[in-house]
Symmetry: C2
Subunit: 436 residues, 2 copies
């Protein structure tokens, strides 16, 4: 894509109270409506009015009972929530996270095709493999399969889903009353997939969807995750701490995409942007301090335990951080593991220090600032090949979402970085991706 045509992509990550763990305790959060559909419909309509590309919902398939006291970690199931939103929006994309480890490809292909029909071509599937070990116990397993096996299965899962989405050719619908031919049976195919993990006969029980197929999104940054994205995905969601790391990741993923025989423009790189917006820098910093004070250390510890696969509740907070195994040996979130391991191996640190300095987001894409300051960082990453856009995570849903949409988006539009209107009908068209 020529630089002239290139434009920023912006997704809004929906969350009850905000991406910050302390957000629910902030006085601006309206606690009586954060488990109410109307709250999400309002956010969705507002994001669409600001012309955001997509709404994005993260997900997990387990909770730790002791974690529920620390905040609203549970939410609506993504496909049901986005289907509701589809009924009251027209153009914004709808991206749901669903794991490849605990569902059937036939059901997943069908549900996403259904969302694509319901929304007139706005569905996207964020494929994850699930890295939290305790989730396995909700699905009859003692432990998660290894990282390698999960990704091997994910690859076959994606392959089956793509075959199912393609099992109805274009123009298979005939609807000829006179001859009584509803669809052309010669254009609908059983897929007869026989693989290592799945055996699926097909065809899919829903016709080809408006986008040809829903978009594929990938959200892991391990080697296997990047390989999966380069092969299949149209968007990759990633967490990057520094511009330099972001630029390297961007280069890496683009060259992997080319190696996979695809155009580098066909896979868009979207780092996560944790954002706090204020009219002045002081106001933003004050809100950041407030949120920090409202955060429970136990909850952060629990989250770090889950993501690293180590139970930190057994250690005193001021004890030295334990040695972490080599990434290949840990069955957890590889990217976080590598990041924390780099810190821990560099110098002795306590568990508390890791939590405060590294765990609770302090990277360069954790921004608290004025609309101009936020836009400056975004512009820098975008213009200097570290991002094609961002998955925007307002730290405080009530407040930062509105400020981001009301002030940062127009600033990006003034700078010519972000479009003012939707030009296509489907998500694929609006993102300028090749038709399928």
């Amino acid at each position: 894509m020529s630089e002239a045509n290139r434009r920023m992509i912006l997704n809004l990550v929906l969350s009850n109270a905000g991406s910050h763990r302390g957000a629910w305790r902030h006085p601006d959060t309206e606690l009586d409506c954060i488990h109410d559909l109307k709250h999400f419909l309002r956010l969705a309509r507002k994001a669409e009015a600001a012309r955001l590309d997509s709404l994005f919902i993260a997900d997990g398939l387990s909770i730790e009972v002791k974690a529920v006291q620390h905040g609203p970690i549970f939410g609506f199931e993504p496909l049901t929530l986005l289907s509701s939103i589809a009924a009251v929006t027209e153009r914004i994309g709808l991206i749901a996270t669903v794991s490849t480890s605990f569902t059937e490809p036939y059901n997943l292909a069908r549900s996403f095709a259904s969302l694509d029909h319901i929304s007139g071509g706005r569905a996207g599937w964020n494929m994850v493999t699930t890295g939290v070990d305790r989730t396995a116990a909700n699905f009859g397993l003692e432990h998660l399969p290894s990282h390698t096996e999960r990704y091997e299965k994910a690859r076959e899962f994606a392959e089956v889903v793509l075959k199912l989405w393609n099992s109805w050719e274009k123009d298979s619908l005939v609807q000829d009353r006179a001859s009584g031919v509803y669809a052309d049976a010669d254009k609908v195919h059983d897929i007869r997939h026989e693989g290592k993990y799945f055996s699926v006969r097909g065809a899919l029980n829903i016709m080809r969807s408006p986008q040809g197929r829903p978009l594929l999104v990938q959200a892991g940054s391990s080697e296997e995750g990047k390989a999966l994205a380069a092969q299949y995905a149209e968007l990759i969601f990633t967490i990057q701490r520094t511009f330099e790391e972001g630029r390297q990741f961007y280069d890496d993923i683009k060259s992997r995409t080319v190696q996979a025989g695809r155009s580098p423009d066909s896979l868009k790189v979207l780092p996560g942007l944790h954002v706090i917006v204020g009219a002045t820098e002081e106001e933003a910093k004050k809100k950041a301090d407030q949120l920090r004070e409202l955060t429970s250390v136990e909850r952060s510890l629990m989250s770090m335990s889950n993501m690293l696969g180590i139970d930190f509740s057994a250690f005193p907070l001021d004890a030295p951080f334990p040695q972490l195994p080599e990434p290949g040996e840990a069955n957890a979130y590889q990217t976080f593991h590598r990041m924390i391991k780099a810190v821990v191996d560099r110098q002795p640190v306590t568990i508390r220090e890791v939590l405060e300095k590294y765990w609770v987001g302090t990277g360069e894409l954790n921004i608290a600032g004025t609309p101009e300051q936020v836009a400056d960082v975004m512009e820098y990453w975008f213009r200097n090949s570290a991002a094609d856009g961002f998955n925007v995570m307002p730290q405080l849903t009530f407040g930062d979402t509105d400020l981001f949409l009301d002030l940062v988006v127009p600033e990006l539009q003034r700078r010519g970085l972000f479009p003012e209107t939707y030009t296509g009908q489907t998500l694929r068209e609006n993102l300028g991706l090749e038709p399928i």
Copy 2:
């Protein structure tokens, strides 16, 4: 429940073009919108304006490629479609069919709890075990498990789902900003289910839903199906051919419910009502004739093949109907099997005769008539203990749905059989069921 308080329950079964296989070819059917969400939103809003109790979506998890030419057998996935409808309705119940044979109880419990939250307490789950053998091949199996095994698994599945829905006690949400307690961890419980088919640790990753839990609906009339309904369900959907059979079924299911330790009023019996409405009887009969002429024999044959587990395409249409095995030996839809077996064993008949006289609905609840005639049959079944209400299946979506809602429902209201307004907020309240 005293007779004075008893009132009819009415669900509308949503379908693209109508319950009749020829409906899509009828000139009143607007073919360009039957795969469009707007079509379903319009039906839903209209059904709510008429105060229907619920929308009901049947489902299947496979298609036969050669069947697609005969009509719109494929549809939106029920949970996504009903979630969309939830966003634009306020009171009408939303009942989705999902099979216990090809999904995980954790995912199912979570999705239905999510729909219950999204809709403010209007979700119901129609539990089926799937009787079409070819479906197995979409989920890695050569054949369906036996009827007995499917229902044994369904019973454990329902048990797990109920435990998960109960894993969050009432009043577990605290939301105390000052102390930082979001939910009371003592009121959220792992379920630690270890059974023959499922091992699920819990707790559910979504809080207790507005109805306490979604409604349970059951839709099979085999021995195992009736036992499952008597134990767990709040509504049972059944196909009955004659009033006498309907009355026996009603008696049977109510006494089973009592034997299961429940009030007979806690399980409502809803036979399916295939309906064609006309201003005059002649008009209705004419429409019925039209629809019959628009029906493809091959398609009916295919459907009968699937439901009886026999490939009839190998037989000439005018050949004698083959002997059917004893119900216990056939792994198919038991109730249909028994019904057809009774016909076939009584006297020699051809395949064509069975198709025309018995297969394509000709029972007493297949009505083509004036609003008064339709209401008469409904009143008779309702007043004489053969039905607590009906699952209404307009044979022609465009036309009969509107006529039923505009003319039959008001007629039932004039007769004091059906309420004029919703009195509760949740589906459970509106149906007058005990709170949970």
